[in-house]
Symmetry: C2
Subunit: 345 residues, 2 copies
């Protein structure tokens, strides 16, 4: 393995209090960059970009060159997992994901299988290998997957939703089926993340994007349980868990066998630190809308965020993905301010 | 004023620990009832129903007859306020609200004015008068309005949104305009709620449906501040504040000059009670998806919810509005179980 020239994110993820705040941004590779939109415009759609390693690797590296972040995250989509399990998705322009065939009961599990990443997801591991080669040790590469509950929500609901009431209904009406599908997703995810690590991912993140639509009891039973299973299985590299909206679960997440907890922008940093204790790294958590503000306001937001993290292991990030209409210059200003911040330690 | 035959909700809202749990449900008047859908099918659209007092009164009373709830809530929409302020909305079938003309800056405030409920919202006060007459003292009638932040979010964004990033951007880029518009909404809401009370509303509720997309600091500055202004002004009847997703604000909501705090289904009841103290009534908070389950599961859910509230003033409700495809028989079972529950007090 090539030695990393900049390993500050990785050291922070291992619990080190680093010399400055390391930073990467959720959705840093994507529509905010004109260079991304140029690549994208040459292709038939989002899914072609995800499934073509050359292009995926190219847009993965763009923010390292253009935004000066401390880590790359492989360009992909959490919905490659349902697809690899036998439940294909489409990405409908300006609408989002759509599943022509949902999986809502035992009978519909026919044709659904635990994913084999070496065949069904080879385009991702190929993209990782190519990215690692082209990054040439400049920064670490982050792999990722959706958390089982979030993947389950899409596979059952069939699309995005304000309430995910179809998905949540199934948790009440058919818990046995729910656990069966969730377990298959968890096993697929473990195999998938291990394949990403084998291909070169230096750390991995689980995105539980729809954590916040479950109440505490159901979150424990139908989400945290499977996140725990995955965290236990992934021992090769540091794991980050980002569960958007699951404020009530932060104290329990402190006990997960993972290294880093991602915080959304609703979370009070000091309170989360008190709940998690000092052993884990925290990641986050500026409001993506802060990057619409003027430079002075952005600087003040950075200062306030980093002061709250000071003296504890953390990785600067947003509390959600970058919004596509954000000005890249504002993003660069945000990143510069983070890197320049002096902790009193 | 006619004496109420069933005033249990009102007594609970005034802080009394009642002989059994009183109950009403958010969105109890609406698409779950075939009788509602029949009225609706005769009309050109949702807005005609809202603006025709005879029909609005009819569907308001339906759940009292058909579901046996302890209170009626006037059938209307929170978006009548922007309309009365000069910013008209449309309701697009299976999509939701849409504003052809948004209000995003000082210049666009031209044509926007503080609502005069006696002219611009006469259809609501007429509906309240008619409902009160036809209810004939059976149960109290609840009036309502949207909280200023939620109304602001719609007026600026122009429609529903997963992120409300347009609305939230304005809080960062033009706080002066934001405060100006929020204050006009708050003043409109005060006049509107006072007109509802004058027309016969026995209590009122503020819905901050999009509370949960703001972080704690912005919630304090751009939402709680205006909710407080409204609560201070409404001294005639008990006020309930329901701020969906604003878990971080519950301790501060304990200090609002209102009587009842509504809880969403993510909130741990005992923890909320500890944060709010014993002086206020709590309302809520079953997951609307619980009503998809079998009767046994629903009964267990009711028991678990009511046990957590036991011994403190509370009003049973859901933690969000009823979902339109809920079976009315399940709703009736839920309500019966609530009414039959014996508190150990």
């Amino acid at each position: 393995m090539m030695k990393l020239q900049n390993d500050i994110v990785l050291r922070a993820a291992k619990g080190e209090i680093t010399e400055r705040s390391p930073i990467w941004l959720m959705r840093q590779a994507g529509r905010i960059l004109p260079e991304y939109r140029e690549v994208r415009s040459k292709l038939s759609g989002f899914i072609e970009l995800v499934e073509t390693p050359e292009f995926a690797a190219e847009v993965t590296i763009q923010p390292v060159d253009l935004l000066d972040v401390d880590a790359a995250i492989i360009f992909s989509d959490i919905l490659v997992i349902p697809q690899a399990m036998g439940c294909a998705y489409q990405m409908i322009e300006s609408k989002g994901p759509f599943f022509p065939q949902t999986v809502r009961n035992e009978a519909e599990l026919k044709g659904i299988h635990v994913a084999d990443p070496h065949t069904d997801l080879k385009f991702v591991t190929d993209a990782i290998r190519l990215t690692k080669k082209n990054l040439n040790g400049r920064v670490p590469l982050i792999g990722f997957a959706g958390a089982p509950w979030t993947i389950f929500a899409y596979m059952t609901e069939g699309s995005g939703s304000k309430t995910f009431s179809v998905a949540r209904k199934i948790l009440y009406t058919d818990p046995a089926f729910s656990h069966k599908l969730l377990d298959m997703i968890a096993d697929s995810t473990i195999a998938y993340l291990k394949a990403q690590i084998e291909a070169g991912a230096d750390m991995v993140q689980l995105f539980d994007s729809w954590a916040g639509i479950l109440g505490p009891d159901q979150y424990r039973e139908f989400s945290l349980r499977y996140i725990r299973k995955i965290c236990k299985a992934i021992t090769e590299v540091p794991v980050t868990v980002f569960a958007k909206g699951a404020f009530y679960a932060i104290p329990e997440m402190a006990d997960l066998p993972c290294r880093t907890i991602g915080l959304d922008w609703h979370t009070d940093i000091r309170q989360a630190r008190a709940q998690v204790g000092s052993t884990k790294t925290l990641q986050g958590n500026a409001d993506p809308c802060l990057l619409y503000a003027d430079e002075e306001t952005i600087s003040a937001g950075v200062k306030s965020m980093l002061s709250a993290f000071s003296g504890t292991p953390h990785i600067a990030n947003l509390g959600h993905g970058l919004y596509p209409d954000t000005d890249p210059n504002k993003v660069r200003h945000f990143i510069k301010q983070v890197k320049a911040f002096k902790h009193n330690q």
